[in-house]
């Protein structure tokens, strides 16, 4: 009989779920390499995980139901304009203009955010999402030189909850920019960096705190002529932490 291992199975599962604290991971690797019992357990849990992947998107809603639900959640459109009839004409005109202006600004922002969300989703959906695959910021930064018309600093993420996976060149409104993909547990976060030249102002608010857009959390700011966007399906506090390290590296 081999010596029974006292490794807590919960710790093994946390490791596989990407929830183990980064400082515990080396010890875990060492243990698995020397403990056949845990190695088998890891293999079994991995097998189970693979089996369960088939449950993702296993049940799909009918188009009919989707349409029905969309109607249910769609905001009531237009009727509010009727109110204007009771306001004196000049005031009504002013109000309409203001309404049109804020609506345009608002929809332009929403569009810009959806385009950013698209860039993020495309990277996740692509089988070869990265042009440069490296966890080393000293490899990633020089790779972009000559490929994009500006330079930026990649923060040191070693020892944090974030792991740099690599980067690629992306285009937003014909402007080339950099996209970094950063992993956090099972989630992926995109960092997008573009030039913020005045002539081609991207329709983003000057800066936002991390907020939810299209089911993603987005934070954006401008610094030294560059526009930064951080987007991912994680909490605002997590986006904020990654944003802070980027701000420090590029201040």
């Amino acid at each position: 009989m081999p010596v029974p291992c006292d490794q807590n199975p919960i710790t093994l599962a946390s490791y596989l779920d990407g929830e183990l604290a980064p400082d515990q991971i080396p010890a875990m690797h060492e243990h698995i390499a020397t403990c056949p019992q845990c190695a088998i357990e890891i293999a079994e849990l991995t097998r189970l995980k693979h089996g369960l992947r088939a449950a993702r998107g296993h049940h799909t809603p009918t188009l009919e139901f989707k349409k029905k639900l969309q109607q249910q959640v769609a905001p009531p459109r237009r009727p509010r304009l009727n109110v204007l009839r009771f306001i004196p004409a000049a005031l009504a005109l002013a109000a309409t203009l203001l309404l049109a202006f804020t609506w345009t600004q608002h929809s332009r922002r929403q569009d810009a955010f959806s385009e950013v969300a698209d860039l993020h989703v495309n990277a996740l959906a692509s089988t070869n999402p990265l042009d440069v695959i490296s966890t080393d910021r000293h490899t990633v930064k020089p790779w972009f030189q000559g490929r994009i018309p500006f330079s930026f600093n990649v923060p040191e993420l070693t020892g944090t909850e974030f792991t740099l996976l690599g980067g690629r060149v992306v285009y937003l409104h014909q402007q080339p920019g950099a996209q970094l993909i950063v992993a956090m547990r099972q989630h992926k976060i995109s960092v997008l960096i573009f030039q913020a030249s005045p002539g081609q102002a991207l329709p983003f608010p000057a800066s936002t705190e991390a907020g939810a857009h299209n089911a993603f959390t987005v934070e954006t700011w401008q610094s030294n002529g560059l526009r930064f966007l951080v987007i991912g399906d994680v909490d605002a506090t997590e986006i904020e932490r990654l944003a802070q390290s980027l701000k420090q590296a590029n201040s």
Binding site: P4, C5, D6, N8, P9, I10, L12, A13, S14, D17, E19, Q37, I40, E41, E44, L45, R47, L48, K49, H50, G51, L52, R53, A54, A55, R56, G57, H58, H59, T60, P61, F65, K66, K68, L69, Q70, Q72, V73, A74, P75, Q110, R185, Q186, H187, E209, A210, G211, A212, H213, N214, A215, T217, D233, V234, D235, A236
Partner: protein, 180 residues
């Protein structure tokens, strides 16, 4: 939050929420009712939703709570034995390699899916949230309204139950091995 944003923010979650609902209810009509009620409640409560907090976890939480108070949910759930088990101090037995595990290797994904569908609700929902919907432990804790420690221990038991369905079903509901 302005309700006008609701559609834009909540609709991208529709397919995932439907999948989760169908796995919970095991039935298309019940799943549709559940999703519809979830969106209705979320729309109503959207004003109080804080921008920047986790919309995904919030929606799953509404769906899950709605399910647990629904007719099908009440019929399916019996968490008392689970809570007792958890109150007893999270004792988790050391893992061992069993013939069942080796058996699992030879079986296909369909077997895993059938075992998932047959799991008691408290185990099924946590497996779905972690493995299928890929929520973090912290998000799962928000959805289930339990501490992260409970998420970890319940998940561990759920996985054990999934691998050895006949032995560890805490509700004592016999599961016919032939249906697995």
């Amino acid at each position: 939050m302005d309700p006008e944003f609701f559609e834009q923010l909540a609709m991208p979650l529709f397919d995932q929420l439907y999948n989760f609902a169908h796995w919970l209810t095991g039935d298309r009509t019940d799943a549709e009712d559940l999703v519809q009620e979830t969106y209705a409640k979320a729309l109503k409560g959207f004003r109080s939703f804080q921008q920047g907090t986790n919309l995904r976890a919030w929606m799953y939480r509404i769906l899950r709570n709605t399910f647990h108070t629904s007719r099908t949910g009440l019929a399916a759930q019996n968490t008392s034995s689970l809570e007792e088990e958890e109150a007893q101090g999270n004792a988790v037995t050391a893992h061992t390699v069993t013939p069942e595990l080796l058996l699992l290797q030879q079986e296909d994904q369909q077997t895993v899916l059938k075992a998932l569908a047959a799991l008691p609700v408290p185990y099924r929902e946590i497996i779905l949230l972690c493995e299928v919907e890929e929520l973090s432990y912290r998000e799962i804790a928000q959805v289930l309204d339990v501490p992260i420690g409970t998420v970890m221990s319940r998940l561990s038991r759920a996985r054990t139950a999934l691998r050895q369905p006949q032995k560890t079903n805490p509700l004592g509901r016999p599961i016919d091995a032939r249906t697995l």
